[in-house]
């Protein structure tokens, strides 16, 4: 029977299947961070259980870590206690940890691919919803809760039901200045925050095939923002080239065996998806959000919508609440929205390619005098690479702040937060109320729009800068 890519990966990991029960799915890689794991380790201890496969488990510190003064103890005692708990737990159970200051430290979804631990055809889980990022390699990767973290630690498996299959086809050439972030924001605006619920999304089509691994990670990362279980992309030469030579990638004869297997990881020609979505890449423009969920986005050429124009009562009410929270008036041109802060970073857009795109736009220029720009590399390795390329100087010379690696202002668990009423253009993944700080207002944007916005202080497309 013809299968989709996701079905192939799923079926290859079924340990046990029985009528009337969920399948038991084997997990190839379990990524762990400080926030969603302490109660899971406590659960193991309380039940006298151990970690079944420490060698298939990798931990890092990312959510709480400060991005300034990173070699000193964390000032916030509650954050410090949580990070200390992770250090104790990983030491007790023999799990590898990349702590603050380590060359491998960084956002959990940046370091997995960087180390070559993320490979095609794997099942990967983490107590973090953006685990879908790893789907860019043709892995089935999804976020789990703390009870499931405990379950995976104890058994290296998870009870699962096979998800439904959705194809998102993106065909044609992306116009200049339009990036993977704009593609995924457009997808979410089209299908809604619940549109992917119950599905695994496979992103396909000529526009997807041309994307770099970094860009593919950006797209898969935000699958959860469309409500999907996971998102993935078939591995190809771009994937293999990215992986070859990375620390944990197979070598020699193993590499050949791996590539032979990975090359079979494609949706069969006559496989049937439960749902299909089509996006014309040539029609896309830079996309920005105006509301308080990631589905409330529009092309930057548009204006803030009028809630009265929404046919559905729930959508209308949501738009009214969003405009009130965001301090926006219907009809305001999106380009006229003034921001206080620009955040470049996160597991969505904190990789080297994202920093390069932004730096290119900022090179030799100064950001707007009233705007603060925070540049937070996704990992220590991304930071080091950027510094080798001189990107840190470009950001600093432009007046931006160059910080240490971590999740930072994506969710404000460290001191990097918006103040009440402050407005950001952010390359992160969620514009939820208060996500970046109590009372903070977030507009989700691509790295190119973030850089252009930093230069003008208002939401700006990179193309607007030409001749400006």
């Amino acid at each position: 029977m013809p299968k989709t890519l996701a079905e192939k990966v799923y079926d290859a990991h079924v340990v046990r299947s029985a009528a009337g029960e969920p399948d038991l799915l084997y997990i190839d890689l379990h990524l762990v961070h400080e926030v969603t794991s302490p109660q899971a380790f406590d659960g193991l201890r309380a039940a006298g259980r151990t970690v079944r496969r420490p060698d298939l488990t990798m931990a890092t510190e990312d959510h709480n870590v400060p991005t300034l003064d990173i070699l000193s103890p964390i000032a916030d005692p509650i954050s410090r206690a949580q990070v200390d708990a992770l250090r104790r737990n990983t030491a007790e159970f023999g799990i590898r940890l990349a702590p603050m200051g380590d060359r491998d430290q960084g956002i959990v979804h940046v370091i997995g691919p960087q180390l070559g631990l993320t490979q095609p055809g794997m099942t990967i889980v983490c107590g973090d919803s953006h685990t879908s990022t790893h789907g860019a390699f043709g892995a089935l990767a999804f976020g789990i809760g703390t009870s499931e973290v405990e379950h995976v630690l104890a058994t290296q498996t998870l009870p699962q039901y096979k998800p439904k299959q959705m194809a998102v086809n993106v065909d044609g050439e992306l116009p200049p200045g339009v990036s993977a972030k704009d593609v995924i924001l457009a997808v979410i605006a089209q299908i809604g925050t619940g549109g992917g619920q119950g599905y695994v999304i496979e992103y396909r089509g000529s526009a997807i095939e041309k994307l770099s691994m970094e860009a593919r990670m950006t797209i898969c990362n935000m699958s959860i923002e469309a409500g999907a279980k996971a998102g993935l992309i078939a591995p190809d030469q771009t994937t293999f080239d990215f992986l070859q030579g990375r620390p944990h990638a197979p070598q020699g004869a193993d590499w050949d065996a791996a590539v032979a297997e990975w090359s079979t990881l494609r949706t069969d020609e006559d496989a049937v998806f439960d749902a299909e979505v089509h996006i014309d890449a040539t029609s896309l423009t830079p996309f920005v959000t105006w509301g308080t969920n990631p589905g409330q986005g529009l092309p930057i050429d548009a204006s803030v919508p009028d809630p009265a124009d929404f046919a559905d009562e729930g959508d209308r009410r949501a738009a009214e609440q969003a405009l009130e929270y965001m301090g926006l008036t219907a009809g305001t041109r999106l380009r006229d929205i003034k921001v206080d802060t620009v955040f470049l970073g996160s597991c969505t857009n904190g990789r080297i390619e994202d920093l390069r795109v932004a730096a290119e736009l900022l090179r030799g220029k100064r950001i707007d005098a009233d705007t603060r720009m925070l540049v937070v590399p996704g990992s220590v390795a991304v930071k080091a690479q950027a510094e080798t390329e001189g990107l840190d100087r470009v950001f600093l010379d432009a007046g931006a702040e160059w910080r240490g690696a971590g999740c930072s202002m994506c969710l404000g668990m460290n001191p990097d937060q918006l103040k009440p009423g402050e407005r950001s253009a952010s390359t992160s993944n969620r514009n939820f109320q208060g996500r970046q700080g109590k009372g903070g207002r977030t507009h989700l944007v691509s790295p190119a729009v973030a850089a252009a916005t930093a230069l003008t202080g208002r939401l700006t497309a990179p193309a607007d800068l030409i001749g400006a």
Binding site: V15, R16, G20, P22, Y26, D28, L29, V35, T36, P38, Q39, D42, R49, R53, D55, L56, H63, D76, I78, S79, A81, Q82, I95, R96, D104, Q119, M122, G127, D128, S129, G143, G145, T146, S147, H151, A154, T155, Q156, T157, Y161, T193, G194, Q197, G227, H248, P250, D254, E261, N293, G314, D315, R317, Q321, G412, M413, R430, F432, Q433, G434, K438
Partner: protein, 199 residues
């Protein structure tokens, strides 16, 4: 996990869509390493900033059933959201559509999520707004929600229902199949990546 069979209580109407887990409990409350005591973070921004917020109103202060609009529990995978709802006195959340991870976490934490069509949620909203003291019964055994003279059936997958009714721990159930897990591991290709030793 506590078993869930049937629950009767009063219900609070949360007329909002896309209630994300950052609203249920903001990230700053996630720094704690305990599994209980999260009630102070439950909907804290709305409780603080909106005097008319439904859970600030005395007639809904003791509600144990939350009735919300579609796409409840979107966003972050934080199980703290489920714990906060339980700590805040809720045993059931009713919505036309839940985010997958939230719903899955609920089945582990012993919080029952009930999916009802939008029209039934609207009718329930109207009833509990008209009479906030109206008792609402959610019967997992019979798979139905009852209030006044209205009975609405709901569906839940039989396995999850059984686990909730019995209050069973997933890890214990999986440990019955350790032989299968071992056999699967023995057949895995040797080149599959390992995090240890560090390279």
């Amino acid at each position: 996990m506590d078993a869930f069979t049937t629950h009767t209580g009063t219900a609070a109407p949360l007329r909002r869509t896309n209630v994300d887990t950052d609203q249920i409990i903001p990230a700053e409350y996630l720094k704690r390493i305990t599994r209980t005591g999260f009630e102070d973070g439950l909907f804290v921004a709305w409780r603080t900033n909106e005097p008319d917020f439904v859970l600030n109103r005395p007639e809904y202060a003791n509600a144990s059933i939350l009735v919300a609009g579609p796409d409840f529990g979107t966003g972050s995978s934080r199980e703290h959201a489920n714990w906060a709802l339980l700590d805040g006195g809720f045993r059931v959340v009713i919505s036309p559509r839940f985010a997958d991870i939230f719903r899955n976490n609920s089945t582990k934490a012993g919080l029952l999520t009930v999916v009802l069509p939008e029209a039934d949620v609207e009718a329930l909203w109207a009833a509990i707004e008209a009479d906030p003291a109206l008792p609402v019964t959610v019967d997992l055994q019979a798979e139905q929600v009852t209030y006044g003279d209205v009975t609405v059936p709901f569906q839940i997958d039989p396995y999850t229902r059984w686990r909730l009714l019995e209050g069973l721990d997933d890890v214990g159930l999986t440990e019955r199949h350790l032989d299968d897990i071992q056999a699967f591991e023995d057949a895995r290709p040797a080149w599959k990546p390992k995090a240890l030793p560090a390279v």
